[in-house]
């Protein structure tokens, strides 16, 4: 299959290993990626927290740019995904807003682009059976907890993604790779997001609690699909008791025997290599 691809700003910077692992996994599973032409930032939290129209116009510019490709749009970053789905929600229910935004962006919005996260594409279009067949190294001993955070799931009528209180797709993917996904109660909790700079202590408090809950659930790592969550888990948890974090696509690449994993793991703040070495996975 072929999809258009919106990496977003984080995936070209602090979330680089997410971008590279999404590309490697997509290639291995036969998903062709076509980058959205001349994309710009989605505006993230800062736009919607301070200026509603800006928070619709910035994503709209990118969705409209993707319309020409006539493909589903893969958006790996949970924050970008949420902004795109939110913009579509408002554009499709408010005609006068739509007309105003079309005037600002200088093109028509035709509601034709399906915005999709790679979890959804891999789970629903590739399927767990096909994924299982592509595994060359079963992840025996790896006990991840799946961490979705906020932005893939809420509000549910906007995101329309997985079960919003107890999501299961990422656990399914981990299971197909041979990992033992642990049940826990923080799947959809908030990491504090962009408060990480202005109010670091709040984020430390939230991620420390999650690390404790993950350990109590018998996990030895945390798997996520959001560069903001990843950065907070990887850099803000207190040293005592912290578990390594991974993007779910890094774990997939490991199980599919793809090249590049070592390079990505070296970019993490919390080194995951001692865990993977002890399990004989690298």
């Amino acid at each position: 299959m072929k999809v258009s691809y919106y990496p977003g700003c984080s995936l070209h910077a602090t979330g680089k290993e997410y971008d590279q692992s999404v590309k490697a996994v997509s290639d291995a599973l036969g998903i062709e990626l076509k980058e959205v032409d001349d994309w710009s930032c989605c505006g993230a939290s800062s736009a919607h927290m301070t200026n509603f129209k800006l928070s619709i116009a910035l994503p709209a510019r990118n969705i409209i740019a993707a319309q020409n490709d006539k493909l589903d749009m893969m958006v790996p970053c949970a924050a970008c995904f949420n902004r795109f789905k939110g913009a579509q929600h408002h554009l499709e229910k408010d005609d006068s807003l739509k007309a105003e935004i079309e005037e600002i962006v200088g093109a028509k919005y035709d509601a034709s682009v399906a915005v999709r996260n790679p979890i959804d594409i891999i789970y629903n279009d590739i399927g767990l059976e096909e994924l299982g067949k592509a595994v060359t190294r079963k992840l025996d001993g790896l006990k991840p907890v799946s961490y979705y955070g906020c932005l893939l799931l809420r509000p549910p009528e906007v995101c329309q993604f997985d079960d919003y209180e107890n999501p299961y797709m990422m656990d399914g993917i981990m299971g197909a790779l041979g990992a033992d996904a642990r049940k826990w109660s923080c799947k959809t909790d908030c990491c504090g997001g962009s408060l990480t700079l202005g109010k670091t202590q709040i984020v430390v408090h939230l991620v420390d609690k999650m690390m404790m809950m993950a350990a109590e659930a018998g996990a030895n790592c945390i798997v996520t699909a959001c560069p903001v969550c990843f950065a907070n888990l990887d850099t803000r948890a207190s040293e005592k008791g912290r578990l390594p974090a991974f993007y779910f696509t890094e774990i997939m690449a490991l199980a599919l025997g793809l090249k590049g994993t070592e390079k990505w793991f070296n970019m993490h703040n919390v080194d995951p290599k001692p865990l993977l070495t002890s399990l004989g996975l690298i």
Binding site: T188, D189, S194, L195
Partner: protein, 174 residues
């Protein structure tokens, strides 16, 4: 002349906030309530009581992380997350002294980075934020470590058609 409550409702659209029957489910599920000056339910009550200055000047509206747990669980579909966005916009427009100045400065630095290059340049955005807040040294070690790992690049590709990005900022500027 509208009351504070009517003004918030008009700007938000959707379910009027007086539909709230104060079950406090929003506050029970709020991950940041422990750090807030007034909890989300208290903010709704304060709007109903017309406490404009206290609400717009509170730390609460800036500490809300927009996780949307409140609106997802509200039995009456009050969009509390959108209410917080609306209150932030109103606070900026009214020029009230923000309850959390560094968070406002973060948003300003973030948006000005998009305005300059179409995409966020993390080092430029961070330098801008640090200069605004004069909080120069926190996270220095972390930043250096990310730079050494090749995660932070000084130069990254920008959006080519910057005219269209500038037009978006100009047309939505209030």
């Amino acid at each position: 002349m509208n009351t504070f409550l009517e003004e918030v409702n008009d700007r938000m659209g959707g379910v009027p906030i007086q539909s709230c029957f104060h079950c406090r489910k929003c506050t029970a599920g709020c991950p940041i309530a422990f750090a807030m000056e007034y909890n989300p339910n208290a903010i709704i009550k304060m709007i109903q009581m017309g406490m404009r200055e206290k609400v717009l000047g509170s730390s609460t509206i800036w500490l809300c992380a927009s996780c949307e747990t409140c609106v997802t669980r509200c039995p009456n579909d009050v969009d509390i997350a959108r209410m917080m966005d609306t209150l932030r916009e109103m606070a900026i427009e009214s020029g009230v002294d923000a309850g959390e100045k560094n968070i406002v400065k973060f948003h300003e630095a973030f948006l000005s980075s998009i305005k300059m290059g179409g995409r966020i340049s993390e080092p430029m955005m961070l330098v801008h934020y640090k200069l605004k807040t004069l909080d120069l040294f926190s996270d220095m070690g972390l930043g250096m470590s990310m730079f050494m790992k090749g995660k932070i690049k000084l130069l990254s590709p920008r959006t080519k058609d910057m005219g269209s990005v500038r037009k978006i900022f100009k047309s939505t500027d209030k």
